[in-house]
Symmetry: C2
């Protein structure tokens, strides 16, 4: 019997059980699993324990595994029921979330999830992690729950692996993959950490930008100085830092680091033509965030700027006196966090070195630069002809009643490259996020519809994967 | 009897009572009177009360006066004993201190004063405010105490006025001066908030740079954004801020704001020749702070850079994620604190407007700039022929056994202009600070010798002022 024949009762079950699904998501959202801040390490552990316990209720053999950082979860369905003929998928998600600052901009406490109304009437779940990635990963978990509860087993064999350091570069998770290759063997990977095209149009992401994230600290005098005594003669590291960072872009928005664009290719004409059809406008994309004019390379389409072109952003800067009032200080040091989104053809190590050289060459006398590395991941382009991808596309189209698009994402999901390199797996990226989800920002949300139809989508995808020609 | 005839027993008394003088200073240093931070407002009040009580023990009629900010102290000796024929001086100091951050760089708690040994063997008093301005103002108070205790009265009539908002721009103190003009009438003002030329060479400061202190906040999107979703198309306010601030200086260290140097004159050739004689070298001035090359205008002497030329410093900058680790955020806003040291010929209001115009003209689409004003004071040049100045110079030369220099200071003491404007008073600036006192920095100190001989210096100056021809 094809799995699709069993699908309707599974979907009905999802609808009937949806309030409970939501309560299970809320329980996870209440845990403050901020991976970047060591103060929240116990909360990360609590999130791993909680989630493992939840997944174990599906009958999965579930383990919380310690790493050198926050723990990971490995859960395996009691698979290979058909003697290994069924597809075996590796599902990936992450339970860690971004820091919540600036806290004063949240309308509600970030770890007290609620369902509320969006300005335009959409029902939304609001909490840190509501989308990224707790809400998204729970769509898959809840889809598995419905299948198990209705048919007693899953249409395909499933290994679930959940990490706790995605937001800080997965430094300890990649060695974990290496060390557990055999246990994590599968036919391909599924990741739920991407978005839809719009609230009604599902999408599969087939290319992702890479990421190089650097920290630079400029040091000058051996202590903070009084600008009345030393102002004019003492090197000011904030001045040096702003001078260097202020020259990273030319007047057309191009990045000025020598060699930065080496290897970057223009889009094939047919893809560019398709993208023009999608007609991504400032009105739809920028207006909701209070902006009107694309700030990137002036010779590129908006959709290119945010998905197929490499970029640079200064993500943080600090130096000197930043409290209330004034202080006439020349600080001893100033620092910044800078990240680069990379595309196909750019090598992370070369970009990192080019940036460091760029800074170092511009340091004036008496200044030193210290560099720190936060992330390093190449861009990804998936094989558009993967059979699993075609099956997922069909399932998504059925659920949403609208042709699922194959899209490029401007974001980075470094784990996709790691799956290929360490486990030899291709990945299908399906997610239900929206551009206005405020991920990494105050008031993060996930549409209630994304959560509900996301669960239904995965239920359909599991069936479609089972029935697809191998 | 000339006052100088009574001087020796007064100096002897200062020597004999020095341990007690030190203990009285320590009691003041223990009070955390940080004016910039509203959390320390009760400490500022406590410092005012404590100091008023201490001055009252000299027989001064002493009042703590509330203002719209931190309180001020007014204390009057029982003067006019000679029917108004004696000079009447207005002594000014401030009991407020700078914030202490970064606290981790202090070797000891900043409000637990100690006497310890400097690396080169000098005895030093270490605490926030040890020099600026608690240590300095107490040299005058203790000199008055010695005179009163030995001769029962002071050689001149004295009004002491101490404020609590010097470090934050004296916004409420200037209206206070206006409102109490008559009560604060005097022949001239004395201020103890400046430095010596070196640890053995006393100095009177005859010119001071002015100060314009601005805060600018650049705003772009209506919320923090994820750089994976919006990077490349969304305006990044840190990028805008570094671009604008990074262009404030040209390659020769000149400030690029149009009109900034309007009205600035070169030094007269004779003064420039004298200054060259002083031979201020990077070796002596910059090496102690870990630097080697003057960072200012390349066509100016080091001594010009720090005293007679206008400057610009970025005193603080903050935006985006500044915690541990990384966050791929494009922040909604970024801000900086910027100050300008002004010289004769520059008008604070014009400089402020020129800076704001400079920023505003460079704002790209979708960005707004918000400005805040922290301080505004013109530069000061005193009359080198003041009789009081000659008397003070003679007294200092006697005490230190070395000709007192008339010097220019790179710092700003806006109150000097306010005394002239509101009370019609010229000011004599005498102080005992040293370049390595770490004022406004961690591990602020005051040489024990500065404190001791500072008290003796004021005792001599009071006598010299009484005996000087009027």
């Amino acid at each position: 019997m094809p799995s699709s024949a069993q699908l309707q009762p599974v979907l009905d079950r999802i609808d009937a059980d949806f309030d409970n699904s939501l309560e299970r998501l809320f329980a996870l959202l209440r845990i403050k699993s901020i991976s970047a801040d060591p103060a929240f390490a116990p909360d990360c552990k609590a999130a791993a324990d909680h989630l493992a316990k939840d997944i174990a209720t599906l009958g999965f053999a579930t383990d919380v595994r310690s790493t050198a950082g926050h723990p990971a979860i490995v859960a395996k369905s009691n698979g290979k029921a058909n003697g290994g003929e069924r597809p075996h998928v590796l599902f990936y998600g992450h339970y860690d979330v971004q820091p919540v600052d600036p806290l004063n901009l949240w309308h509600r406490p970030p770890f007290e999830p609620v369902v509320t109304d969006h300005a335009d009437g959409r029902k939304i779940i609001v909490a840190r992690g509501a989308e990224d990635d707790k809400g998204q990963l729970m769509t898959f978990v809840e889809a598995c729950r419905a299948w198990k509860s209705v048919s007693g087993s899953l249409p395909v064999d499933v290994t679930i692996v959940i990490e706790g350091e995605e937001e800080i570069g997965s430094k300890n998770f990649v060695p974990f993959l290496e060390a557990n290759k055999q246990e994590l063997a599968a036919d391909f990977a599924l990741v739920c950490d991407t978005g839809m095209w719009d609230p009604n149009t599902p999408a599969i992401t087939t290319s992702l930008r890479g990421l190089v994230y650097e920290e630079v600290k400029i040091k000058a005098a051996n202590r903070d100085l009084h600008s009345g005594v030393f102002g004019g003669a003492a090197r000011n590291p904030i001045r040096v830092l702003t001078y260097i960072l202020g020259s990273l872009f030319d007047e057309n928005g191009h990045i000025t680091i020598p060699g930065f664009y080496d290897g970057v290719k223009d889009l094939p004409p047919d893809i560019l033509a398709q993208w023009k059809q999608l007609n991504l406008t400032p009105e739809t994309f920028l207006k909701p965030i209070g902006l009107s004019i694309p700030a990137g390379e002036t010779d590129r389409l908006l959709i290119e700027q945010v998905s197929s072109r490499p970029t640079c952003d200064i993500n943080g800067i600090v130096g000197g006196y930043t409290g209330e009032g004034s202080k006439t200080v020349i600080p001893a040091e100033a620092s910044a966090k800078i990240s680069f989104r990379l595309v196909q053809g750019q090598e992370p190590d070369k970009i990192r070195k080019a940036f460091r050289d760029y800074v170092t060459e511009r340091l004036p006398a008496d200044c030193t630069g210290e560099f720190g590395e936060h992330s390093s991941a190449p861009a990804i382009a998936l094989d558009w002809n993967m059979k699993a991808l075609a099956a997922a596309k069909r399932a998504l189209t059925d659920e949403w009643g609208k042709e699922a698009l194959l899209i490029a994402s401007g974001a980075s999901i470094p784990i996709v490259a790691d799956f290929k390199r360490t486990l030899g797996l291709d990945t299908v990226l399906v997610g239900f996020g929206l551009d206005d989800d405020n991920i990494h920002s105050p008031n993060e949300k996930y549409d209630l519809k994304s959560f509900h139809k996301g669960i239904r989508s995965w239920a359909r995808i599991l069936a479609a994967l089972a029935d697809a020609p191998r």
